[in-house]
């Protein structure tokens, strides 16, 4: 029981990270109708930017952890958002009227570019970062097993909740959010009623990348290690989360993220850790086949 609760906490933490990445997939799919295959690598770039920003801050003498973390968050969000913007501008925008699978192929190319760019620039070896946030609370004890909720887990969960709230507000209440929803319904119509579609799409990528960078920072703090390849698996899992929650649905992305996080943690805890990624891919396939509209997605009627 205690073991289970501990896994539940770990799963929700991991799921928060997946959920934040999944929002990027779900938003872009909702609006442009493409799988942004490079989004996982944007997350990886975000983690690297956070790592380097942190090292620079320490060298500059800013060593109060909360302050440093805050600055790192801002810097990494801003720069990762710039990556999101650039990728859309270079690799996707010219393809908006190309053949059906062109954006996906371009996105695969972009994913390879980002991975290898970081590998060339920063080396292929893993980058460790000593734990910055220590401590935590023992929730309860029993059967020689203490259930702990660490401070870093608290930070991750609270930040995720805060970002989700803010983001939901943005989509529901602001002008940008309204434009985004309009574009999701019908790009051509949105353009006709005077919405700057290009700008809205750009901003969608920017926001998605910024959220992915937060996930990158959390990943860095939680695991204390990054390498250039983390984006691939995290990306696939987050995409699975987006599909599971119902692609196009924001709460769906979050719910899907947490479910995937829980499934992965429980699978590793109770079955086999070697096959945990097999489980992730298997879920992806099963969901796509049997539940392609996801939990909260709209059913799709084939247009004949």
């Amino acid at each position: 029981m205690e073991y289970f609760v501990q896994q539940l906490i770990n799963g929700i933490t991991l799921g928060s990270i997946y959920g934040l990445i999944a929002i990027g997939y779900t938003m872009v799919y909702g609006i442009v109708g493409m799988i942004n295959f490079a989004h996982g690598d944007i997350f990886m770039v975000g983690a690297f930017l956070a790592l380097i920003a942190f090292l620079v801050l320490v060298a500059l003498g800013i060593s109060t952890v909360p302050l440093a973390l805050f600055i790192v968050l801002l810097v990494s969000m801003a720069l990762t958002a710039l990556y999101g913007w650039t990728v859309e501008r270079i690799a996707y925008r010219p393809l908006r009227h190309s053949f059906r699978l062109a954006p996906l192929i371009s996105a695969i190319g972009m994913s390879i570019v980002l991975q290898n760019y970081v590998q060339v620039a920063q080396g292929a070896r893993v980058k460790p970062l000593p734990p910055l946030v220590h401590g935590g609370y023992t929730l309860f004890e029993g059967n020689d097993f203490a259930v702990r909720l660490s401070n870093i887990q608290i930070i991750i969960i609270i930040t995720t909740i805060a970002l989700m709230t803010g983001f939901s507000f943005l989509v529901a209440r602001t002008r940008l959010g309204r434009n985004m929803r309009a574009c999701e319904q019908d790009l051509k119509m949105a353009a006709l009623v005077g919405i700057d579609v290009d700008r809205t799409i750009s901003l969608t990528f920017v926001i998605g990348a910024a959220l992915a960078s937060v996930a990158g920072l959390m990943f860095l703090l939680y695991y204390g290690v990054v390498d250039f390849f983390i984006g691939f698996l995290a990306g696939v899992k987050a995409f699975t989360a987006a599909v599971l929650g119902g692609i196009g649905s924001l709460p769906g992305a979050m719910i899907g993220g947490i479910l995937i996080g829980l499934i992965e943690t429980m699978w590793s805890a109770y079955f086999s850790i070697e096959y945990k990624d097999v489980a992730a891919f298997a879920i992806l396939i099963i969901v796509l086949i049997f539940l392609p509209t996801g939990l909260l997605g709209r059913p799709e009627v084939e247009k004949v």
Binding site: P299, V301, E302, V304
Partner: protein, 275 residues
């Protein structure tokens, strides 16, 4: 009157809360041209999609019978089986050709099942058995026949996407005819055609009915076309059939006039109050 080729019985199609077709019954007779008219959103294309299997109706029966007595319950069949076995062919409102393939290839794809059997499901054809070559020659002959009929034989080897719009519409009908249909469903065949093309289409459709003996069900907004060639007209509005009969009778039906010309809101209110 001839025997029915298609009987639509109590057909209802719902999308979530929206009822696109509501308890509709309709008879399409053999070797007749039946027109389906009605304002936008009346459920005409939905009915087409139910007949050709692209939608599964929520309730209702669709009985198609061949002249040799074979009959098919279309609502239980996959769309490709409806085309292959029940022999219902269709065209689309927004022309769907294989744009990158030549006209001839388009018409050969329409004869896929015949050719597939002749190629021994690929194995015999792969090793060049003569039976397949003969079947392909016959298929090309039929394609050429239909290209001649629509006046496109000279462009047989051009990509279909390079044709002007009117020719694309004709080609789509020719392609549907290559499947040797019992019932041909045409979704707005005259849309976007000029007067001359429209007149040619009328002649062509009559010829299909009289020479090939194919029954035709068509959706059309061009009343000139509808009144001139139809043997029978069914009028739909909000998913319900409001009139059904010969062109002359339908033309003078007050309900049809109201549906088309629209009725002022006050009149509706009056009508409702009087109920």
């Amino acid at each position: 009157m001839t025997a029915p080729v298609l009987m639509v019985e109590h057909l209802t199609m719902r999308f979530g809360g929206l009822v696109a077709v509501n308890d509709l019954s309709l008879v399409v007779r053999r070797k007749e041209i039946t027109a389906l008219i009605g304002p936008n959103g009346a459920g005409k294309t939905t009915l087409f999609n139910c007949i050709t299997g692209f939608y599964k109706p929520t309730v209702g029966r669709l009985l198609l019978s061949h002249s040799d007595g074979k009959s098919f319950l279309l609502e239980r069949m996959m769309e490709f089986r409806i085309a292959r076995d029940a022999r219902v062919a269709r065209t689309f409102q927004n022309v769907r050709l294989f744009a990158g393939m030549t006209l001839l290839e388009n018409l050969l794809v329409a004869q896929h099942n015949t050719l597939m059997a002749a190629s021994g499901y690929t194995m015999l054809g792969l090793f060049g058995f003569p039976g397949y070559a003969r079947a392909q020659r016959r298929a090309v002959d039929r394609a050429r026949y239909w290209l001649d009929r629509v006046g496109l034989a000279e462009r047989a080897d051009d990509p279909a996407g390079a044709l002007p719009y009117g020719a694309q519409r004709r080609l789509e009908i020719a392609r549907a005819m290559c499947t040797e249909p019992v019932l041909l469903c045409l979704d707005e065949p005259a849309a976007g055609l000029n007067n001359r093309e429209s007149a040619e289409l009328n002649t062509f459709l009559r010829a299909i009915r009289d020479e090939n003996g194919t029954s035709i069900l068509l959706i059309e907004h061009d009343m000139g076309v509808v009144m001139e060639i139809s043997d029978h007209i069914a009028v739909l509005d909000y998913g319900i059939m409001i009139a059904d009969g010969a062109p002359a009778a339908v033309r003078n039906d007050p309900k049809v006039i109201a549906a088309y010309l629209g009725v002022a809101d006050e009149e509706i209110a009056q009508a409702e109050a009087s109920l």
